[in-house]
Symmetry: C3
Subunit: 667 residues, 3 copies
Amino acid sequence: MLYGGDYNPEQWPREVWEEDLRLMAQAQINIVTLNVFNWAALQPDEETYDFSKLDAVMELVRTNGMKVCLATSTGAHPAWMAKRYPDILRTEKDGRKRKFGGRHNSCPNSLTYRKYAPKLAAELAKRYQDYENIAAWHVSNEYGGECYCENCEKAFRVWLKQKYKTIEEVNRSFYTAFWGHTFYDWDEIVLPDLLSEHFIDDTGRERTMFQGISLDYKRFFSDSLLECFRLEYDAIKRYTPDVPVTTNLMAVYKGLDYQKWARSMDFVSWDNYPAPDAHPSAVAFCHDLMRGLDGQKPFVLMEQTPSVTNWLPYSRLKRPGEMRLLSWQAVAHGADAVQFFQIRRSIGACEKYHGAVIDHAGHADTRVFRETAQLGRELEQVGGLFLDGRTPAKAALLFDWDNWWAVEYSAGPSVRIKYLDAVLDYYQAAYALHVPMDIISTQDALEPYQAVITPLLYMVKRGYEKKLQDYVRQGGNLVVSYFSGIVDEHDLVDTGGYPGRMRDLLGIWVEECDALPQGEQNAFSCFGRRHPADLLCDLTHLEGARALGAYEEDFYAGMPAVTVHTYGEGNAYYVGTRSDQEFYRMFLERVFSQAGIQPLHRAPSGVEVCVRENAGGTYLFLLNHTEETKTVLLEREYEELLEGRTYRRQEEIVLERKGVRLLRAVE
Amino acid sequence: MLYGGDYNPEQWPREVWEEDLRLMAQAQINIVTLNVFNWAALQPDEETYDFSKLDAVMELVRTNGMKVCLATSTGAHPAWMAKRYPDILRTEKDGRKRKFGGRHNSCPNSLTYRKYAPKLAAELAKRYQDYENIAAWHVSNEYGGECYCENCEKAFRVWLKQKYKTIEEVNRSFYTAFWGHTFYDWDEIVLPDLLSEHFIDDTGRERTMFQGISLDYKRFFSDSLLECFRLEYDAIKRYTPDVPVTTNLMAVYKGLDYQKWARSMDFVSWDNYPAPDAHPSAVAFCHDLMRGLDGQKPFVLMEQTPSVTNWLPYSRLKRPGEMRLLSWQAVAHGADAVQFFQIRRSIGACEKYHGAVIDHAGHADTRVFRETAQLGRELEQVGGLFLDGRTPAKAALLFDWDNWWAVEYSAGPSVRIKYLDAVLDYYQAAYALHVPMDIISTQDALEPYQAVITPLLYMVKRGYEKKLQDYVRQGGNLVVSYFSGIVDEHDLVDTGGYPGRMRDLLGIWVEECDALPQGEQNAFSCFGRRHPADLLCDLTHLEGARALGAYEEDFYAGMPAVTVHTYGEGNAYYVGTRSDQEFYRMFLERVFSQAGIQPLHRAPSGVEVCVRENAGGTYLFLLNHTEETKTVLLEREYEELLEGRTYRRQEEIVLERKGVRLLRAVE
Amino acid sequence: MLYGGDYNPEQWPREVWEEDLRLMAQAQINIVTLNVFNWAALQPDEETYDFSKLDAVMELVRTNGMKVCLATSTGAHPAWMAKRYPDILRTEKDGRKRKFGGRHNSCPNSLTYRKYAPKLAAELAKRYQDYENIAAWHVSNEYGGECYCENCEKAFRVWLKQKYKTIEEVNRSFYTAFWGHTFYDWDEIVLPDLLSEHFIDDTGRERTMFQGISLDYKRFFSDSLLECFRLEYDAIKRYTPDVPVTTNLMAVYKGLDYQKWARSMDFVSWDNYPAPDAHPSAVAFCHDLMRGLDGQKPFVLMEQTPSVTNWLPYSRLKRPGEMRLLSWQAVAHGADAVQFFQIRRSIGACEKYHGAVIDHAGHADTRVFRETAQLGRELEQVGGLFLDGRTPAKAALLFDWDNWWAVEYSAGPSVRIKYLDAVLDYYQAAYALHVPMDIISTQDALEPYQAVITPLLYMVKRGYEKKLQDYVRQGGNLVVSYFSGIVDEHDLVDTGGYPGRMRDLLGIWVEECDALPQGEQNAFSCFGRRHPADLLCDLTHLEGARALGAYEEDFYAGMPAVTVHTYGEGNAYYVGTRSDQEFYRMFLERVFSQAGIQPLHRAPSGVEVCVRENAGGTYLFLLNHTEETKTVLLEREYEELLEGRTYRRQEEIVLERKGVRLLRAVE
């Protein structure tokens, strides 16, 4: 299994390089990501490329028997380029043209960037095409941000024309009849920004007056950056067609439709920087989301910090064992490589207090290095066993960037609606039940799953209701939440009664929706308990479904809060309000049970359970996220891989605080 | 009585129109406001006007026997116009030129806007001049916002020149000797904005370094928009001189001096969107403020939501009966028409989740529609009785936009000073006492009133002190609050001791003023009780007045907190600090009692009492704003109009939760 | 002793001037600061200077026997100049060019400003060179703010070239290898602002991606304004070489390196506007900081308010006696003059509600005037005795603007790190112990002191470690805090283990640093008590030092929290975490005791003790900052100067609330 991280020799004199390679070997590190931010050095002016220093690094790495993940350095352009071609600079959403600085700083619709970024990728691929130790190409870095320059505005019009063909269709989709915003010519369309349709509300949120155009800008800008990625991808493939190409993603990054991106990437990789107080299930969710981008195939953990994350408000140390636990959690969820940012801590600029394998002290005698080396030994010992292992799931959770954008642009019914909250409500409950779920897109098939959950399915793209109907009709179990089935892909409401095109499937009519201010709650009873009703309360009429619980307060007391509709061979559930984890666990336990889905393994609270399967066997991962010792009663016979001993069925296995147990089922 | 609302057929196919008219008839709706945002459709390019679709709608409405409130569509300009004539776009207070988007988006000093907006109004008036069912013209929509463009800057200089004649007088009025800001030429004057004299303080408030110029900008910009209104008004009157013309106001909207505006409007109309947690008296205040703009004549409730207000943070449903209660509250305060925004819920853009008579479900079988129709029947049954009814008040409350602007621009003594708070302190107390007050401007006569309250009369315009003196001398009762009598109309302090030109009238000298931070209070005793002293404590010396209460704490303990001065035949009260509602009720009860003012009727807390009188009789409105049943012991014989039964004197009348009783005094 | 304040006759008609002088005499005022904001009047256009009005004022002041502090009026430029030469206007950090308005409004790198500001100073000096009553020149006013215009950008490049000579050295110092920001040409360098390397984070702080360039901008801009000061200084000295020249500073103003500035000023003066809730020690700190700028020589209190400070959120009145107490506190800390802003309260613009000696009432019969006059009599009676008195201190506290800038630009380890907090932690403890400290810069000698405290010495400029080593080796006692010894003057980390070049001196190695979120604490025991460990916890290894206390919780329990290292003849203490005042007092008591430093005098809590010494004797100031009566048991025989009586050793002296006792030690 590959183990390593970002390494920036360009920040250090050559004499340090040798020492670094010695220390890396000591930590079992076998791959380095090179050349992430090096454009200015590689191309000192418009006509010159200078690879001499990189050549030396590449040679040194090769002769030391290490692999390379070779980046293209296009995540930040050179200062001279910004001065010579200002079109490469981005423009803020309030119209301010940026100057040289930072990263994520190139306009993706800049002709200069589209010329010189792929050219650099091509030059690199050409020069190093014969280096057999290049494990992968790493294009740019953490694509993101936005631009509102004139070139983007022009490109947006072209993008719209390709999508809509006629200006009339644009007007219909953007609903420009409202407020008389009708366009008669493509050139009348301006980007939706803080100078046109957007504004910042009292709570600091950016909002829009026309959701349709704002949604299309999100799609357009995600596509714009994706085109830049593809240009580099194609340039590289001309020289090294067999080396896989990726870029490092950021999991729940709202700006880019990663599900669309993954279709252009050879494999998925991502950077994991959880806040110290993040729930383990939130990290698990990120892994599963990333794994789901590419058909549940293994992915690469491209970056994590060995200790502190310096750009968070507080650089809390990862406690002893935490980095190891998080690393094995990644593997348990499908990672086939574990990498750090970064190998050696920089001494200047804004990341110099970020964690590193080799600290400012410069030697191996640190807690962090020792923990890194320990993990290196473990990965060396058993990591290879898990490679290409799949993580079988009988339930699926729908995640959809379009929905995320749309529901959070919605003007009403509540500023407290957060797409991720709604998704995590269900994810966290299934996690607590030890039921793994695949995170799927609207393009993925539903048939493989015995249960499908579609939280906050506000937007139902044309035809998706058919997919859901077919799934349930054929015996599937579907869970739909409040504020679902409202609009189509243009954010235009489906008239005729909510939840629109899903009304028939769910057997209900939602007449009204009451938004509860922060601090106010209603309640409903279900499964013999009283649960809180928060955020929104749908006022629902039964039209074939039956109620599983009803509101207890206010003028709509007695109306259904949770319903189930038998549809064909399956069941369609509707949860018309937001509740707490206790409810979601009880509810999903019932849904999963009726769908015939069992937990992976019983385990106490705080212990995460994962499974990977490959040709070599079935692996059970037990991860103790707590500070206490935990015990798991094994349900079958297992071999613990690090200890090398066998546990019998019904034997107890003990996990120390932050402990990890890697078990192979004995056939 | 007219009953209806905004209707936007331009958002719907023709087949929907007929259904809408059928449903409107079912709800007793008899008027629609048309053409509010339609400019782009009516004028697809610079040379063409196309009324074909509007013609069809107008015909359909006429043939269905309904009235029209015809808007001019100039509340948002077409996209093509913004592209062709960028001078029509506004500039932000931080200098950013806007692009096309939103509404309130035209610069009132744009020559393009001043050419084409009145031209459109004229074209409309010309085309539809023979439609006898046009009940009123509705110019633009909710005028507001600001602009800081170069055209505004030039117009501001002209406005100043007309006002001040000489640059020396500008310097004196703006107090430019401070910091050496002396102007020698008109063209040296720049708009007061975030690039010149304004800044945002740590609490997020916009503040100014020179109050004089900032005040004049407020006046100038209110006048600039008013000129736009007048241009359209005049254009319309050339064709339909007998149809009244209005624009929809927004009650406590700070940006426009509505008292000045009302003098150019044929009648007042306004849009009522209270937050769900607004106190009923705050809504009552808005009605009374709007009624007071035009000499206490009836007004039109141009917009309210049938259910949710989607641009608030939480779209809380109006509970059953709430919309009815708020509608009758409007009538009780002087409304002669009740209208909604909107008839049919749009399916796109930022108001698609705002309440509507016809919901996305598209039919009449909804709670909201049923409540709308019930109200329609009631208005049909008895609404006409109240038309042109006046609301007699023996007390008056001064409200002055100049004061609002000035006191909130003041640098010191406290960031917690809010003009509306000070006004509502008194309004709410009188409301609780069931004593109606007219809201008057500084232009209105005081003689009609037995008591006049002038909260936070920080600015005393030259000569107004004389008006107050005359009023009290002839027997009036005047109440003045803390931080009053400080400046003239240029925000220049009257030297010689506070409260300046009112010192003689009030018989006091305020030597100092202590500002209390949030959370700190002093106290004073008055009328046998101890009351809190909050916000500001004036350190007051008696000069003819006598103390009604004195501070109890701090080094100024013993100094008067509340005083009264016998002046001529009347009394001038001074309340030198801010207290709580208990105090204000006790205080006003005493003032009103001494002034010979009685409550309209006794009623329990939570029940609002209003009276309207016209040739047909005297009407008593009882409005139960609570969730409990309330009982009122009637003080004379009344006929309840909806029930059609008579209640004897001393008989109890019962109001259910949110209940309304409409009583006609039996002569 | 000089006593007076800012006086602005240009805001008043001539008839008021005579009355003002009469009132000033009544209050024993003997100096006025004139001409602070008068440029527009003195230079009505580019070619004309008009001193007629100032001549009259100067004559009147002279004939009334008063001194003048004559300002140059260059703190705000005329409107005509901004219109004619827009280069004089500043540009915001987000790129917005300002328009005319405000003050602090001139770009220091504007050629126009650099031409006309010194020219005005020269014209003034020339005209009034024969006025023997000019006590001092007052250049501009409260220099501050920032500018990011093109002229500043060009000047920044020149400044960098002079500092670094080569672009390679710039790249090294700015660490541009990170993110590939390498510059190849000076013109590629742009100012670090919100359009380039800076951004606003979620907490509203302005942060940078490259600390090196941001630090240099701070230095550059401080130098730019200093050059403007020097130009005026030199212009004045050509005509009045013997009159001292100053400008009024603002104590803890982050923008300007006052330690560098003071080397160009003839004496230090500053403006004291404490918030009403400021701790007396925070005010004391400001005095000591200002005194320390110029080698602990006396300074001038140039401005304070007689009563309210109107630009604070709440204009709380200074209670009776507070202004007097604060004035004597200034004298006790080294002030040789006491002045107010302002003599007469203005009637317009944004400071009209700021306190003044002569209020809007316009006469002397006010509490504030009476207190001013009382202080005037006291100063007249005894003020002269203290002139040129020094304030002997055996301990020193290091304060360094570079460190302030650097540590608060740091990306990690905690957003809660505040330089002033760390400095005040120690200052306040010493204040409570009645041990005076000199505030020194990195340029000052350490030998005079028996103890030196260097809070948050994050940046150790090259060579300063040697100065500290020499000091301790020769017997000094040094206190160093957490997060110290990290970087050099370019904010580049010293590798090899923290605290870098101080590791040897302190005898420790800090391996890691744990940042605690708001609300979390660790603890350590020391001196027999348990103390909180907050903010940061350094994980420290002993390398020669010994532990004085160890952490009690978390995985680093048992590691040293506080250490001391015997080094040569002295001791080097390290406090590796932040604690509370109780700890700092206990700790400093021990450090001072071991260093042989005794309190000035015992006194109860809330009573401040200060000493000044001059040729005339040794003066003890007792200042009661509380609202209670306090008693001090005198440790020797003293004469109380205001009472004129003598107190014996061991006699009790009583201080009323806010009371002051001025004692001369009887020899």
